[in-house]
């Protein structure tokens, strides 16, 4: 079994969470990103808020709040996705998830989406958004499982870039 690429891999974990000016992540939200943080060394959680800010939550786990528009998106999302190796969509059928998928694939980033199989509705569902993901994992995927998935995605991306 492969070991997680803890030191070098950077994952942008895109959520649709809206945090007010003083908010940090709730225990429930921290729990949702914990497996990802357990899988790799550097995770940046992307959320929306009234203004842009960033803070370190734990070693290797950062929170970046992007200034939101009224459509539940941020003009800073394209820039926020440029620096990572992999984009993980925590809520792929949210508006942020749908747009995040588009932007990530235009950047050529591998995309991993968490999905519990719930039938939802929206543009992403109607257009089979998950077919564009490079991997779909359950929300309770273990760090070990995610590490393997990420490594496979990264190997695929490296292969495509050669």
């Amino acid at each position: 079994m492969s070991a997680p690429r803890t030191d070098t891999l950077r994952v942008a974990c895109l959520t649709a969470w809206y945090l007010t000016s003083d908010d940090t992540l709730t225990p429930h939200q921290l729990q949702a990103v914990a497996p990802i943080h357990g899988a790799v060394g550097r995770v940046e959680v992307l959320a929306l808020g009234p203004s842009g800010r960033g803070l370190d939550l734990q070693p290797g786990l950062g929170l970046r709040v992007l200034p939101a528009t009224e459509l539940g998106l941020s003009w800073e999302l394209p820039a926020a996705l440029t620096e990572c190796d992999i984009v993980h969509l925590l809520e792929p059928f949210s508006r942020a998830g749908e747009v995040g998928m588009l932007l990530a694939k235009l950047h050529g980033k591998p995309v991993c989406a968490s999905h519990d199989g719930t039938i939802a509705e929206g543009v992403g569902v109607a257009l089979d958004l998950l077919a564009l993901a490079d991997a779909v994992v359950p929300p309770d995927a273990t760090p070990q499982c995610l590490a393997e998935v990420y490594e496979r995605l990264l190997a695929g991306a490296t292969e495509a870039a050669v």
Binding site: P78, E98, L102, L106, V123
Partner: protein, 423 residues
């Protein structure tokens, strides 16, 4: 090189110099041995089938005033998105052509009307390198949001993705494109707009007093090209008792300018001469002394003054328009501030003999024939295409995924716009 040319319109279906320039270069590249395929829109009116031209794209017409002015505002917003952002139908058509033609480089022209950002995104997704020939602020227009107060936001976002090579017809147009946000990533080079076709012998006869023969031309006579300004300058000259004729070539939207000419008492000396095929118009310039062009300052670089100069007809230009970057005042042309008074003053100097047009006309004709002929400009274009082709990258995904992304982008933009419109 296998070159795929992408343009919203292609002659004979065209609006002005941008598409004609595209056709001239595509023809010249084919003549020197490149394998050229043009992908453009289905014509707005029937045209004959042309070899090497595929009219398969859907044009969302955001140009024709008579249609745009009558649109419901909501339809106009949605059409803007289809014209500038993404049209999945066109991405599908482009992917089919990429599969069949397998270009080494895409040579991009005006993409407004085609869902231009989507086409560029598709090229990049498929690893096709591109060279964008900029004769207008098309990248900026493609990134315009149809709402107030959002200037530069989409441009700043799109700037993270648009990675190619650029040719521009003037420094001014590059500055204008990047006015709100950095948008153009990659190398760019400035090349002049050109003339094409055989050159006449050096002109021998120039203005030596008497009746001054002035001309101006544009595909579409309008305020932006300075048509009203020319008429007011002409009225000032007329008031001073000068003897001149002024012929104006180009399409008119209505009778506003002829009416203005009448009101200014210019009926005897000003003639609205209609549109002529470009080849015929270029030859006609030899019959005129000056080409009067008080165009708007943001003029990227019009073809007509260059063509007039090639016949020894001296351009009289707005001092800071794009054309003025390529011609020197008092050497190849005359430049004036964009007012009727300033243009009348220059023409006054000519008629009064204080400016001799002969050396200007001779030098302008020589310069244009030597440096601004398409055969002189083409090597720079070929080098830029080769440079761009060298930037080819592995595809980011399959053609099916590229189309899937285009559909997602189209539906998301249309859905979000309708949400905004619904308040």
């Amino acid at each position: 090189m296998r070159v795929l040319v992408l343009s919203n319109l292609y002659p004979p279906d065209c609006m002005g110099g941008y598409e004609m320039g595209c056709q001239q270069v595509a023809g010249a590249l084919a003549e020197v041995g490149h394998d050229v395929l043009v992908l453009t829109s289905v014509p707005r009116l029937p045209v004959a089938v042309q070899p090497g031209v595929r009219r398969a794209l859907q044009l969302t017409d955001v140009y024709t005033r008579i249609f745009v002015d009558r649109q419901h505002p909501a339809k106009r917003v949605l059409d803007h998105a289809a014209a500038c952002w993404v049209n999945a139908f066109n991405v599908h058509a482009l992917l089919a052509v990429l599969d069949e033609f397998r270009p080494e480089v895409a040579y991009v022209w005006n993409l407004i009307g085609l869902g231009g950002l989507g086409l560029l995104g598709c090229l990049q997704h498929q690893g096709i390198a591109w060279l964008w020939h900029l004769m207008d602020k098309v990248p900026r227009d493609l990134c315009r949001l149809p709402f107030p107060g959002a200037a530069g936001r989409l441009a700043r976002a799109a700037g993270h993705y648009l990675d190619g090579e650029f040719l521009a017809c003037s420094r001014r147009i590059l500055d204008e494109i990047e006015q709100d946000a950095p948008l153009l990533r990659g190398e760019f080079e400035i090349v002049p707009n050109w003339i094409e076709g055989p050159l006449p012998p050096p002109r021998r006869s120039f203005y030596r007093g008497g009746r001054l023969r002035a001309v101006s031309a544009a595909a579409h006579l309008c305020a932006e090209k300075g048509t009203d300004l020319i008429l007011h300058a002409a009225a000032l000259l007329r008031g001073r008792g000068y003897d001149f004729t002024l012929d104006l070539f180009g399409r008119l939207d209505d009778d506003a300018f002829p009416r203005l000419a009448g009101e200014l008492g210019l009926a005897e000396c000003v003639r609205f001469a209609g549109s002529l095929p470009r080849e015929q118009l270029v030859e006609r310039y030899a019959e005129y002394d000056v080409f009067v062009f008080p165009t708007w300052e943001r003029e990227p670089c019009a073809f007509a003054p260059v063509e007039a100069a090639s016949r020894g007809c001296v351009p009289v230009l707005t001092a800071n328009c794009g054309n003025s970057e390529w011609l020197v005042h008092g050497v190849h042309c005359l430049k004036a501030e964009r007012t009727p008074e300033a243009f009348a003053a220059i023409l006054d100097d000519v008629v009064a003999g204080r400016i001799d047009l002969a050396p200007l006309g001779r030098r302008a004709q020589a310069l244009v024939g030597r440096e601004y002929h398409l055969r002189a400009v083409l090597p720079a274009i070929e080098r830029a295409l080769a440079r761009a082709a060298g930037r080819r990258k592995p595809p980011l995904g399959t053609a099916a995924q590229a189309y899937h992304l285009a559909v997602l982008a189209e539906k998301l933009t249309q859905t979000m716009l309708q949400e905004v419109l619904a308040g």
